[in-house]
C-alpha cells in the first residue's frame, strides 16, 4: 500500500509496443479455434488438448482480471473468488446436466432416490435461465455479502479472512450430497450444449471463441473503469479511504459496484470453464484455489490490467509443464515463486518489464 501503483499498463509502457503485442496475441487467440478445425494431419492444426488447455487458462485469466479489479484497484483482497467462479460453473453445469439427462432426473439424483427436482433446479433446462443464473447466483451473493461487509467497514485482513470463510462454507455445503449438486463428484459427463455435441471440434472452437471475447470485453470494461473518474475514486479508496470519506465520498457504493462486477465476471468465466474442462465440483471452492488466484495477480502485477493475465498464463503454463517434467518439485517451485514475487517483485512481472522500458 505504500507505493501508489500504476493506473494501467497501457498508460506508460509505451502504448505502441503494448498495442502491437496485444494485437498479435489477440490475433493468435482468435486464429486458434479456426486452426483447430483443420484436419489432424495438417501441420498447422491446433490439437483439442492445446485448445482446451489454453481455453482453461483464459478462463483463469478472466478470474485474475476480476480479482485485480477489487484487489489492485479497490484494495480489497478477496480470498473467495473461487466461490463465484464455481457458482457460475455450477449454474452452467446444471443446464448441461439437464441436457445430458433429457426428461429424466440427473443420474446423481436418482442415485439419492430423489423423485423430483428440488426447487432451485426449476427452469435449468432452458439455456437462457441458466445464463441468468450464471450472473445472478454469484452477483446476488456478492451483493448481499458486500452490502453487509462494506456497511460495517470490514476491510484489509478481516475482509480476506471473511471471504475465505465464505468460500470454505460454500465448499462444505456443496460437498454434501443432500445439497443437490452431486456432492464430491459434482457434475461430469456432459453431452451437449444447445443441441451441439460437447466434444465436437466446432463446439470447442465456439466455446474458445466465446472465452476470448469475454476476456476482451472484460479487459475493455476494466480499461474504461480505470480511466474513468470511478476508477480514480477506487484507487483513492485503496490508498486512503478515510481521506476520501472526508472529501465527501461515500465509499460503500463504489466498493459494492466493483465487488459485484468482479463476482459476475468470475461467474461468467466459470460458466465458460465448465463445458471446456468437462467437470465442476466443490474442489473449485477450496480456499487453496482462491489463494492461487491471488498469486496470479500478484505475480503479474497488481493494479494493471495486463499483469493478471500474464500471471495467470505464466503460473498455469508452468504448472502444466512442471507437473509432467518434475512432478515432485512442483510445490517447491510454486512456493518459491510466491516468496520471490512478494519479496522482490512487489509490482509483479509487469513492473519488471516496465523498468526495462524506462531505462
Amino acid at each position: 500500500m505504500n507505493q501508489p501503483l500504476m493506473l494501467t499498463a497501457t498508460q506508460k509502457a509505451g502504448p505502441k509496443v503494448t498495442a502491437w503485442v496485444g494485437g498479435l496475441v489477440l490475433l493468435v487467440l482468435l486464429a486458434m479455434p479456426l486452426l483447430s478445425l483443420l484436419p489432424a494431419d495438417n501441420s498447422f492444426q491446433v490439437s483439442a488438448y492445446t485448445l482446451t488447455l489454453v481455453g482453461k487458462i483464459l478462463c483463469y485469466a478472466i478470474v485474475a482480471l476480476a480479482l485485480d479489479l477489487v484487489w489492485g484497484y479497490a484494495g480489497l483482497l478477496s480470498l473467495g473468488h473461487g466461490l463465484f467462479f464455481a457458482l457460475g460453473g455450477y449454474a452452467m453445469g446444471m443446464y448441461l446436466m439437464r441436457q445430458a439427462s433429457g426428461d429424466e432426473l440427473p443420474a446423481f439424483m436418482t442415485f439419492l432416490s430423489w423423485t423430483e427436482l428440488p426447487w432451485y433446479w426449476v427452469g435449468t433446462e432452458h439455456f437462457w435461465w441458466a445464463m441468468c443464473l450464471v450472473v445472478l447466483a454469484p452477483g446476488l451473493l456478492a451483493l448481499v455479502f458486500g452490502f453487509f461487509a462494506f456497511r460495517s467497514r470490514i476491510k484489509g485482513v478481516y475482509f480476506s479472512i471473511m471471504t475465505q470463510a465464505l468460500t470454505f462454507a460454500g465448499m462444505l455445503l456443496f460437498f454434501r450430497n443432500e445439497t443437490g449438486f452431486g456432492g464430491n463428484n459434482g457434475f461430469t459427463n456432459f453431452r451437449s450444449i444447445l443441441g451441439f455435441g460437447i466434444t465436437e471440434p466446432g463446439t470447442r472452437a465456439v466455446l474458445f471463441f466465446a472465452t476470448v471475447m469475454l476476456l476482451v470485453i472484460s479487459l475493455f470494461l476494466g480499461w474504461r473503469l480505470a480511466r474513468s473518474k470511478f476508477g480514480r475514486v477506487l484507487t483513492a479508496l485503496r490508498d486512503a479511504e478515510n481521506r476520501l470519506m472526508f472529501c465527501g465520498y461515500d465509499p460503500r457504493g463504489f466498493k459494492l459496484f466493483v465487488w459485484v462486477l468482479s463476482a459476475v465476471l468470475c461467474g461468467l468465466a466459470g460458466a465458460l470453464y465448465v463445458p471446456q474442462v468437462g467437470i465442476i465440483n466443490p474442489g473449485e471452492m477450496s480456499p487453496t484455489n482462491s489463494i492461487e488466484a491471488a498469486v496470479w495477480v500478484a505475480l503479474g502485477g497488481r493494479g494493471t490490467l495486463i499483469g493478471p493475465l500474464l500471471g495467470a498464463g505464466v503460473v498455469n503454463g508452468m504448472k502444466s509443464w512442471f507437473t509432467v517434467a518434475f512432478p515432485e518439485y512442483w510445490l517447491f517451485f510454486l512456493g518459491a515463486l510466491f516468496i520471490i514475487v512478494t519479496l522482490y517483485l512487489p509490482k509483479g512481472v509487469i513492473g519488471l518489464l516496465k523498468k526495462k522500458d524506462e531505462q
Binding site: 460495517s152 484489509g156 462454507a169 512456493g335
Partner: protein, 500 residues
C-alpha cells in the same frame, strides 16, 4: 449339547485341578471354533480356580499344550466368551479388586447358564462393593425369573444404575406381552424413568466435555497464531505447518526413544514438548529473519509469502518422511479413559490436552505480561517507531516474538499428534479454524482467543447432534461471518484511536 461334552465337563470337574488344566488346554486346542465357544460357555458357568492361568493365556491368544506354547487364531466371538469366562473365574479370586472388575464385566455379558454360580457367589461375598456389583449382574438375569417377587426386586435394582444396557433391558421388559405382572410393570416404568434421567445427565455432561475438548484443541491450534497474527500482524498462512512440524518432532522423539531408551518410551511426549517448541521456534525465527521481516506493514503480502512457505514446508516433509501418515502412538497413560458414569468416559488424552491448553495459555500470558520480553513485544506491536526510539531492539523482539508464536504452535502440534493424524497435510485442516478463532476473539487479545476457542468448540458440539457435523460447521461459519459484520473488531476490541 453333545453327550461327549458333558462327559468331558464331568471329567474336568472330577480330575485334580492340575490335570484338569492340562486336559482343558488339550481339549481347547483340539476343538474347532464352535466347540471352543461351547467349552468357554461351560467354563464360565462352572469355574474352577485351576483354570485361571489357562484362560489368562487364552486372552493373550496363547495356549500351552504339552509344555509347548502355541498361538491361537481367535475371533471376536471367542474373545468375548473368553472375557466372560475369565470374569467368572476371577470371582473366585482373593483380591476384592479383581472380583469387582469381574462382577462389572459380568453385568454386561453374563449368560443365563451362570445364574446359579452367581447366586452362590453373591451369598458367599463379603466385600460390599463387590456385593452390589454382583447383585446387579444377577438382577439382569433375574428379569426372566418365574417368581414375580424376584423380578420386582431385580427391576427395582436396575433402576438404581445409570447403565445404558439397563434401559434396553427395561424397555424390552415393558413391551406388550413380556411382563404380565402389573406391580412389576409399574416398578419397571419408574425404574426406566430413573435410568433415563441418569443417562440424560451423562449425555449432557459428555456433550459439555466434548465441547470443552474441541475448544481446547482449537485453542492450542490458534494460540500461536494469536501471537504471530494478532500481535505482529503477520498473516501467517504457514502457521498450520508449524503445528505439523511440532507433530513431526513428536514423531522423531518417539523414534529416538524407541531406539535408545525403549524403557522410558512412556514419557516421550514430555521430552517432545521442549523439542517441538525449540524446533518450531527455530524454524519460525529463521523464516522471520530471512523473509517475513521484509514484509512488516504489508499484511496482505505476508499472506502470499507465508503461503509459499507453507507449500515448501509441506512438500519438504513429504519428501523427507513420505506422503503417508506416520505413526504416533499414545503412551499408556494417555490411552483409555476415566469412567465417570456408566455412559460417560472421559478419554485421558483429551483430559490432558484440556489441562495442557490452559497451562500454555497461562504461561503465555505470564510471558507477555510479566517479563521484560513481553513488555518489549507489546511495545513494538503497539508502536514500532516509538519503541525503537526508546531503545527497544525491534528487530530482535520481532524475531523472538515470531519464534514464540511458532514455538507455541509446535506445542499445539504435540497435542494434536495425540488425537489425530500426523501427516504432511495436518496443518491445512486447522488453518482456517485458527484464523477464525483469532479474528472472532479480537486481534491482539489473548483472552478473546480463549473465549472464542471454547465458544466455537461448545457451539459446534451442541449443533452437531442436531443437524450433523457438516451443516453444523457451515452454520457456525455463517454465524461468524454475521458476527464479524456486527462487531468487526471481534469479541474483545482493542481500545484506541488509531486511524490509518
Amino acid at each position: 449339547m453333545p453327550t461327549a461334552l458333558y462327559r468331558l465337563i464331568l471329567a474336568c470337574l472330577l480330575l485334580l485341578p492340575l490335570g484338569a488344566y492340562a486336559n482343558d488346554a488339550n481339549d481347547f486346542a483340539a476343538a474347532n471354533n464352535s466347540e471352543q465357544a461351547q467349552l468357554l460357555e461351560s467354563w464360565a458357568a462352572h469355574p474352577t480356580p485351576g483354570r485361571v492361568e489357562l484362560i489368562n493365556g487364552l486372552q493373550q491368544g496363547q495356549i500351552s499344550v504339552d509344555g509347548e506354547v502355541k498361538t491361537l487364531r481367535l475371533n471376536n466371538r471367542l474373545r468375548g466368551l473368553i472375557d466372560t469366562a475369565l470374569a467368572s473365574h476371577q470371582l473366585l479370586a482373593v483380591d476384592p479388586k479383581l472380583r469387582l472388575n469381574a462382577a462389572q464385566q459380568l453385568q454386561k455379558s453374563a449368560k443365563p447358564a451362570q445364574l446359579k454360580f452367581l447366586d452362590q457367589q453373591l451369598a458367599a461375598e463379603t466385600d460390599s462393593d463387590v456385593r452390589s456389583a454382583l447383585s446387579l449382574a444377577l438382577a439382569n438375569l433375574q428379569l426372566v425369573d418365574p417368581d414375580p417377587a424376584v423380578r420386582l426386586a431385580a427391576v427395582r435394582l436396575l433402576g438404581e444404575t445409570g447403565e445404558p444396557l439397563a434401559r434396553t433391558r427395561l424397555e424390552n421388559l415393558l413391551q406388550p406381552d413380556i411382563e404380565t405382572d402389573a406391580s412389576v410393570r409399574t416398578a419397571a416404568e419408574t425404574s426406566l424413568a430413573q435410568v433415563k434421567r441418569k443417562l440424560l445427565i451423562g449425555d449432557l455432561l459428555g456433550q459439555a466435555f466434548s465441547g470443552l475438548s474441541l475448544g481446547s484443541i482449537l485453542l492450542l491450534a490458534a494460540l500461536g497464531l494469536a501471537i504471530t497474527f494478532g500481535l505482529l500482524g503477520v498473516i501467517n498462512m504457514a502457521h498450520g505447518e508449524m503445528l505439523m512440524l511440532g507433530a513431526y518432532s513428536t514423531y522423531c522423539v518417539q523414534l529416538l526413544f524407541q531406539r535408545f531408551a525403549p524403557g522410558a518410551i512412556e514419557f516421550y511426549p514430555l521430552l517432545a514438548l521442549p523439542v517441538a517448541f525449540f524446533v518450531t521456534a527455530a524454524v519460525g525465527m529463521v523464516l522471520e529473519r530471512t523473509i517475513i521481516r521484509h514484509l512488516y506493514g504489508r499484511p496482505l503480502e505476508t499472506l502470499l509469502a507465508t503461503w509459499g512457505i507453507s507449500l515448501i514446508l509441506i512438500q519438504l516433509v513429504r519428501v523427507l518422511f513420505g506422503a503417508q501418515n506416520v505413526e504416533v502412538a499414545n503412551p499408556a497413560w494417555l490411552s483409555g479413559g476415566l469412567h465417570v458414569l456408566p455412559n460417560l468416559v472421559l478419554p485421558y488424552n483429551r483430559l490432558v490436552i484440556i489441562v495442557f491448553a490452559l497451562a500454555v495459555v497461562v504461561l503465555t500470558w505470564l510471558l507477555l505480561n510479566k517479563t521484560r520480553l513481553g513488555l518489549n513485544v507489546r511495545a513494538v506491536t503497539q508502536n514500532r517507531n516509538m519503541a525503537a526510539c526508546c531503545g527497544v531492539p525491534t528487530g530482535r523482539v520481532d524475531m523472538l516474538a515470531f519464534g514464540l508464536g511458532s514455538g507455541i504452535a509446535g506445542l499445539g502440534g504435540v497435542a494434536l499428534s495425540q488425537i489425530g493424524n500426523v501427516g504432511p497435510d495436518l496443518g491445512q485442516g486447522y488453518i482456517i479454524d485458527s484464523f477464525l478463532v483469532v479474528v472472532l476473539g479480537g486481534v491482539g487479545q489473548l483472552a478473546g482467543t480463549v473465549y472464542a476457542a471454547f465458544g466455537l468448540g461448545i457451539a459446534n458440539k451442541i449443533l452437531e447432534p442436531q443437524i450433523g457435523a457438516v451443516l453444523g460447521k457451515i452454520l457456525i461459519l455463517g454465524l461468524i461471518i454475521l458476527f464479524i459484520q456486527k462487531r468487526p473488531q471481534g469479541l474483545f476490541a482493542l481500545k484506541g484511536r488509531v486511524i490509518d
